[in-house]
């Protein structure tokens, strides 16, 4: 990348590295490649979903450097060096993340399209530690829409994990 590049020059691919689900990837990206598209189309991680593509639905939620974000609203080139967890990275050693199991226990989905985003968002919510009541869970999950209307069961699933964490003293 040259700082003397003029606005009419053909943009170059830019080398970045990302650690995705624990694996470091070196990539040459065009400036306008959005992180969501990079994950799905370049890395084959199609668990992360494109819903609205405008930051309004949360289907594309991933965890970047410990924080949940909408991956549709980020140019990949700007996140050089970041650590990203997608829904594919939630299960460890063949065991589902407790929130994934809780979604199954509570039937917290119908069509499943929003579920990867709900899971990443919910995992981050639990780690943030700010939600204690159902009202707070609902508010802090408001960035994830579910057109099937599984909200009640999603709150149940998150509440189950928060409850078992509290019992375990976490």
């Amino acid at each position: 990348m040259s700082s003397s590049q003029t606005s009419t020059a053909l943009p170059e691919r830019i080398s970045i590295s990302l650690t995705v689900n624990g694996e470091t990837r070196h990539l040459d990206v065009l400036p306008w490649t959005v992180l969501l598209d990079l994950l799905r189309d370049h890395l084959g991680l199609t668990g992360t979903k494109k819903g609205c593509d405008h930051g309004q639905c949360g289907a594309c939620t991933v965890i970047l450097d410990g924080r949940r974000i909408n991956s549709c609203m980020v140019f990949a080139v700007m996140k050089d060096g970041a650590e990203i967890t997608t829904v594919e990275g939630l299960a460890k050693d063949g065991a589902l993340h407790p929130l994934q199991q809780a979604f199954i226990d509570h039937d917290a989905f119908q069509c499943g399209y929003c579920t990867p985003g709900q899971l990443c968002s919910g995992v981050a919510l639990i780690k943030e530690g700010r939600a204690h009541t159902r009202d707070e869970i609902r508010e802090f999950m408001s960035g994830n829409l579910c057109r099937c209307g599984a909200y009640t069961n999603i709150v149940d699933a998150i509440e189950q994990v928060l409850g078992s964490n509290a019992e375990a003293g976490q």
């Binding site: 990348m1 700082s3 590049q5 003029t6 606005s7 009419t8 020059a9 943009p11 830019i14 400036p31 306008w32 959005v34 593509d53 405008h54 930051g55 949360g58 939620t61 924080r67 949940r68 974000i69 909408n70 609203m73 980020v74 140019f75 080139v77 700007m78 968002s121 981050a124 919510l125 943030e128 700010r130 009541t133 009202d135 707070e136 609902r138 508010e139 802090f140 408001s142 960035g143 994830n144």
Partner: protein, 338 residues
């Protein structure tokens, strides 16, 4: 989306220099509004200058006993910073009333001020819009205008500024720090955004090449009697139809100092010094608050879908003043309005 070249700026000087040299260059940080607008072809920058690696991500004590919030501090970091939470809870509350946790993790303090209106017509390049393409007209004045402005409009534009954070910052009399090709300057938050007038395409006083470096909060203590009351079409994750930020300083039962700003009703956070003066030296009372509300809305103009906002704003002002005076601010998670 159009193609663009990309530069990762390593200093404020470099960022300013590169932007000033290219009229179609844009700074990018959180990107939550700019990328959205690029996807709609509303914004078509040929060059993006990434400022996220600049040293503007700190919250620091200012010389005057206030706080200086770096332009790159995210909404989430600002809302949950213990100093802001304790000393400027109005700001925390307003930030948490806006967007979603995901967006608040990306969106920055500077970008929040520079976000564009969410007017449907501005967002749709298939329609005329004086803000997007000056001189083409404003379909909102005769079209769908439920979310539009009732104060300070012009025949050319009735868009609103969508920020919640800026409404609180206006009430707190924050100051915006700016760096540019000609050096540094500061401006009161209330003077940062402008009314549409004959040039609705210009949202703020920021010149091309200038960059927001920080927002400074004065030391004035409004941490006890405040509220941010936001009314919208769904209970969360929606822009305000009307919002009210109130900050009072009470001496016993008497209102010693009063600040009030409205969101969702104008092209900028709306303050009315005359109405604020009516509150000083008085006690909380329904009649007084109704007079204040009437004063603020006396020049309001409604359109076909949004005339309801005039009464809604009056009632919200009265309710918010009671919430602030009694020290019972609106919760942003329990949505019941007390």
């Amino acid at each position: 989306m159009n193609r663009f070249s990309y530069l990762r700026a390593t200093s404020i000087d470099e960022a300013v220099r590169e932007a000033a040299a290219d009229p179609t260059a844009r700074f990018i940080a959180g990107g939550t509004n700019l990328i959205d607008l690029m996807k709609y072809n509303v914004e078509r920058p040929t060059r993006l200058i990434d400022i996220t690696r600049l040293p503007l991500d700190r919250i620091e004590e200012s010389d005057g006993g206030g706080l200086r919030i770096g332009a790159l501090v995210t909404n989430d970091e600002a809302a949950y910073d213990p100093r802001i939470h304790d000393r400027y809870p109005l700001l925390s509350s307003a930030i948490l009333a806006g967007a979603s946790p995901q967006l608040r993790n990306s969106a920055t303090t500077g970008g929040n001020l520079l976000q564009r209106t969410r007017c449907y017509y501005f967002y749709d390049p298939g329609t005329p819009c004086n803000k997007r393409e000056p001189g083409t007209g404003c379909p909102a004045t005769t079209g769908r205008n439920r979310i539009h402005a009732i104060l300070g409009t012009s025949e050319h534009c009735i868009a609103t500024h969508p920020s919640d954070m800026a409404v609180a910052l206006a009430a707190l009399e924050a100051v915006v720090h700016i760096a540019g090709p000609d050096g540094e300057r500061t401006i009161a938050l209330s003077d940062f955004h402008r009314l549409p007038g004959d040039h609705p395409e210009i949202d703020t006083i920021l010149q091309h090449g200038e960059i927001i470096t920080a927002v400074e909060l004065p030391s004035t203590d409004f941490s006890r009697n405040y509220t941010y009351l936001k009314l919208r079409d769904r209970l969360s994750y929606a822009f305000a139809l009307v919002s009210v930020a109130v900050a009072l300083r009470m001496e016993g039962e008497t209102i010693a100092e009063a600040r009030l700003a409205l969101g969702g009703v104008a092209h900028k956070p709306w303050r009315d010094p005359e109405a604020e003066a009516m509150l000083r030296g008085q006690s909380a009372a329904e009649g007084l608050f109704a007079s204040v509300a009437a004063c603020i809305l006396k020049d309001a103009k409604g359109y076909e879908d949004n005339a309801f906002k005039i009464d809604l704003a009056k009632r919200a002002i009265i309710r918010a003043l009671f919430q602030a005076a009694s020290g019972t601010p609106q919760s942003q998670t329990d949505k019941r309005i007390q």
